[in-house]
């Protein structure tokens, strides 16, 4: 084994080796200590596969601990990316290759590598002290384990030493610490070579970030040297069975960017503000995995966005409701535990009949649960978790990019019905990224909002619009429309406090009916594929379901699929669609919450497939489960 200490300056635009094996899809996982820069490494690699024209999907897997003790298993941070010459929807189940920067990463992530997969380890970190930190028995080195070596192709690379040797320079006072920080770029160089992905654009970004933004050109140069050294190591080391290539995907033509679900929510809300012609007031309390929405919006003040980090979850939603009362777009964002705290206030907005958008980026619960892991287990809380008969509009996004569209929909529906919307995203969408065909903003329709005006008739704050069922929105500052709203039951029409029995029954129905009326302005449920079984999903399971359906097709099993983006109200044609199939199967990352709703409303049997692991469905497992249901159950 040889390492090129000073890589030649030529051949920086590598074209794939003509001998490179062409694969349709590849998934790679980077893992190491949370201080090893694995998220950044994965992110750079994703940029490179995007530039190469692949479709891709990513999933970060990071610990809740910010800096757990180095070398421990609970301090391991991972980043998985699948890239493909086909359209893909998931980051992949088991990966083809993994980079493990330390034994703890190796130990906790090896189960995600396919049998026969490549595992590149930083051999220098596989020492006695690190083995101890991650709980390997004394005297045991997993790299020497025969069972492991039989199952995987283990590539032992002394990355620490090679990085130091490559970056050491006589005339510089660069510290060893700075050099060691570049090990992740050395690893990235290896993987870039292995999968024939160019490193030029990453070098540009490193130079731009460290050189220009941080004014540390010497650090930029170190990183550049490290990624090049890793790349040439891959090329010269003759370590790997082959270089691989994944051809560009046939995506719809156009300009693309990478987007995560939380970024898409930010952009969707800003777009909605523009389309409504009102500022967004976004008040939120920091909570994983929703904080990035606050961070993103806080930077966009030039759009008139007002953000507030409130003193708690309840204050955040109350500030948003206050802003809505004053005539603006009140939005708050949170995750499940925060939604629980906000529930009374959401009920207030239901009674006041004001627009409000509550973004819930769900995490695995209950209680604090697993904040960095994903789940869709807040659905019933979202539907019913408030005192009294307290319906809200519920929409759910199905992919990172779809969060953009559903955020705009949330604002639109809330304004139309004068009713809170809970917008369900998931940790698995919020942090995951995919290519996104950049929308032309001028093609997104405006959102018309009417405000009450003074007329000759007496102003009645709870007189409903015949078409929408919504009450008029009269804004403070408008002369002649002074009125009072509150949490006490309202008299139909006047909005005065009322304890009248019949009136309460009427108002309870009105508050539900105006949500049902939205069925006229939301799209019907669309079905893809044919078969007498429908696999119906909602939220972040869409990618897994579509991929599983394709996998089943390859096994000669045809199923139709459909995905619900609107949960309250359901699309108008849902009952009809359900009636068209002999069997309906619903995979969910909960114990069957939407299935319960559908069974009670439509009185049909639905078989559930439950995933309670705090991570997305493995596609193969899902396909197997669907197949098992189809084989096991008499239709």
């Amino acid at each position: 084994m040889t390492a090129t200490k000073s890589p030649p300056e030529s051949n920086l635009n590598p074209s794939p080796d003509p001998e490179a094996k062409v694969l349709p899809s590849v998934s790679v996982r980077f893992c190491g200590d949370s201080g090893d820069g694995m998220q950044l490494t994965g992110s750079h690699f994703t940029d490179a596969v995007a530039l190469a024209g692949n479709d891709f999907a990513t999933a970060p897997d990071f610990p809740a601990e910010i800096r757990a003790p180095r070398g421990t298993t609970f301090g391991v941070s991972g980043y998985q990316v699948q890239f493909s010459s086909n359209e893909i929807h998931t980051p992949g189940d088991l990966v083809n290759a993994m980079v493990a920067m330390n034994p703890a990463g190796f130990k906790t992530n090896l189960e995600y590598v396919e049998p026969g997969g490549i595992v590149i380890v930083n051999e220098d970190e596989f020492n006695k002290s690190n083995f101890k930190k991650c709980g390997y028995e004394e005297g045991y080195n997993p790299l020497d384990d025969e069972v492991i070596n039989a199952k995987y192709k283990i590539c032992r690379v002394p990355m620490s030493r090679l990085t130091r040797e490559s970056l050491a320079s006589e005339d510089s006072d660069i510290s060893v610490k700075d050099i060691d920080r570049c090990r992740n770029m050395f690893a990235l160089g290896i993987v870039s070579w292995l999968y024939s992905r160019e490193i030029d654009s990453t070098i540009d970004k490193l130079q731009n970030y460290f050189g220009k933004l941080k004014n540390k050109p010497e650090i930029a140069d170190l990183n550049e040297k490290a990624i090049k050294a890793g790349y040439y190591f891959g090329e010269t080391a003759e370590f790997f069975p082959s270089q691989y290539e994944v051809a560009p995907a046939k995506l719809k033509a156009g300009e693309y960017r990478r987007i995560s679900g939380n970024e898409a929510i930010v952009l969707g809300l800003v777009t909605a503000a523009t389309k409504v012609g009102k500022p967004v007031v976004y008040a939120s309390y920091p909570i994983t995995p929703a904080s990035d929405v606050l961070h993103g919006l806080a930077r966009l003040k030039q759009f008139g966005i007002r953000t507030m980090q409130a003193e708690d979850e309840i204050a955040a939603v109350m500030i948003a409701i206050g802003a809505s009362f004053a005539g603006q777009i009140g939005v708050t964002g949170t995750s499940g535990p925060g939604l629980a705290l906000k529930s009374e206030a959401i009920g207030l907005a239901v009674m006041m009949e004001l627009p409000l958008v509550v973004v819930n980026v769900q995490r695995a619960g209950p209680s604090t649960g697993m904040p960095t892991k994903t789940e869709q287990s807040d659905l019933l809380q979202t539907m019913f978790g408030r005192p009294g008969e307290c319906p809200v509009i519920v929409v759910a996004a199905s992919s990172p990019g779809n969060c953009f569209h559903m955020a705009i929909e949330a604002v639109r529906l809330s304004m139309r019905a004068m009713c809170p919307v809970i917008f369900l995203s998931e940790g698995g969408l919020g942090n995951a990224a995919e290519p996104w065909l950049i929308p032309d903003i001028s093609e997104i329709p405006t959102i018309d909002v009417k405000h009450a005006e003074v007329t000759e008739e007496e102003f009645l704050p709870y007189k409903r619009d015949a078409e929408t069922g919504a009450r008029p929105w009269a804004i403070p500052g408008t002369p002649g429309l002074e009125h009072r709203v509150g949490g006490l039951e309202k008299q139909d029409g006047t909005g005065d406090v009322s304890y009248d029995h019949e009136n309460h029954a009427l108002m309870t129905r009105y508050r539900a009916e105006k949500i049902t009326k939205l069925q006229d302005v939301i799209p019907d449920l669309e079905v893809e594929g044919k078969g007498d079984t429908l696999v119906l999903g909602w939220g972040g399971t869409r990618g897994s379901i579509l991929t599983a359906a394709t996998m089943l097709q390859e096994r000669g099993i045809n199923v139709a699929t459909a995905h619900l983006h609107y949960i309250n109200p359901f699309p108008k044609n849902l009952g009809e669609v359900l009636g068209n199939y002999k069997k309906v199967i619903m995979p969910e990352m909960n114990t069957g919450q939407l299935r319960m709703l559908l069974r009670s409303q439509f009185l049909i049997d639905i078989e559930g497939i439950q995933n309670l692991c705090g991570r997305s469905f493995f596609v193969e497992e899902l396909a197997d489960s669907i197949e098992a249901i189809l084989k096991g159950g008499a239709v």
Binding site: D47, L51, G53, P248, K252, A253, E255, Y256, R257, L267, V270, T271, T274, P279, V281, A283, L300, K301, Q302, F303, G304, R306, M308, A310, E311, D312, I314, A315, A316, M318, I319, I321, G322, A323, S324, F325, A326, G327, G330, E344, A345, G347, L348, M352, I438, P439, I441, P476, G477, T478, P479, G480, E482, H483, R484, V485, G486, G487, L488, V497
Partner: protein, 338 residues
């Protein structure tokens, strides 16, 4: 631009069509009267007033003012009022609620409104009891208070609203009495004109569940002996005969009788810009001391939260130029699929 003359208002122009449903004799009536008087003369259009409240007897207040109003949820009114104010800083936002609402369930929000210095006006009607839920002790009830929920006496030390407001960074902190409409009205008026959170505690009688709790301070016969009026730049003199005063003695203060030994010149002079003195005054309790009425502390120099929020937005717009939505959507890292 032509100045549009303000309509001339009378207090009754601010009365809504709703019947006032407080118990007869409740101290809240007097506060409503003072509020309408203040509103008619503040120089703000009726449609620009927003009255916000939480839950409790006092929280019914917005229903009785013919302005925009919101009766919200228990304890959270400061946050709602904050949302209204940051959405539209031109509105004149009042928050009327009680001691349970603002100091118990909503203590956190009260503290944060004060420290942010959001330009709203908080009027805390302190009756030292839970009235709406029929008579449990409140966070301002004295230790040993016997109520339905504390048949053997309450154990909790009461919280002092003025001390809390000062400690939270309040920039206008005052106290008044429900019986003193004449004194209360200008305090509210000045608070409304103050650019920042104004906080006024009102000693208010709950004549059903805690009748006479404040009588030592509010009744003609005892008021002059048991309260001291705070007037900026004037010595702290009180007593039916105006013959007593408060004097600094080392780190503490003491009550002295004016005469041969002490004269006015020996007394503490009220300085409403002096925070540490305001703390000291907030800690004077009957019966050892007269309880101060008036403005404890004012700091007009701190900018309000809403002003700062909007100037930050303006500064960013100036720096980043006109918002270009398509550019933000597109981002800086794109690729093209042919």
């Amino acid at each position: 631009m032509t100045e549009i003359a303000l309509p001339t208002y009378k207090p009754k122009d601010f009365a809504s069509d709703q019947d006032v449903r407080w118990c007869p004799g409740c101290g809240d009536y007097a506060v409503l009267t003072a509020m309408k008087k203040m509103a008619a003369n503040l120089g703000v259009k009726r449609e620009d007033f927003v009255f916000v409240s939480g839950i409790g007897c006092a929280a019914r207040f917005p229903y009785y003012m013919d302005t925009y109003g919101a009766h919200t949820v228990h304890g959270r009114a400061p946050a709602f009022a904050t949302g209204v104010k940051i959405a539209n800083p031109d509105l004149e936002v009042f928050l009327i609620s009680g001691d349970g609402d603002l100091l118990s369930i909503g203590g956190n929000h009260t503290m944060h409104a004060l420290r942010r210095n959001i330009n709203i006006n908080i009027v805390l009607l302190n009756n030292k009891i839970y009235g709406l839920t029929k008579g449990q002790y409140s966070p301002t009830s004295e230790v040993g208070k016997v109520t339905k929920s504390t048949p053997f006496g309450s154990l909790d030390e009461p919280i002092n609203p003025i001390t809390l407001a000062l400690a939270s960074g309040g920039t206008y902190v005052a106290r008044s009495l429900d019986v003193d409409v004449k004194g209360l009205t200008p305090l509210i008026d000045r608070g409304a004109k103050h650019n920042g959170t104004s906080f006024i505690e009102v000693y208010q009688d709950c004549n059903v569940f805690n009748h006479q709790a404040w009588f030592y301070a509010t009744q003609k016969e005892t008021r002059l002996e048991n309260t001291v009026l705070l007037e900026h730049g004037k010595p702290l003199i009180f007593g039916a005969e105006s013959n007593k005063g408060i004097r600094r003695n080392g780190d503490a203060v003491e009550v002295v009788t004016l005469g041969d030994e002490f004269t006015e010149a020996d007394l503490l002079v009220h300085d409403e810009t002096n925070l540490s003195q305001a703390f000291t005054l907030s800690q004077l309790y009957y019966p050892d001391f007269p309880e101060p009425i008036g403005v404890f502390y004012v700091d007009g120099s701190r900018p309000s939260y809403d002003d700062q929020l909007h100037s930050q937005v303006d500064a960013v717009v100036e720096k980043n130029g006109e918002a270009d939505l398509q550019a933000i959507i597109t981002g800086s890292n794109t690729w093209t699929v042919e």
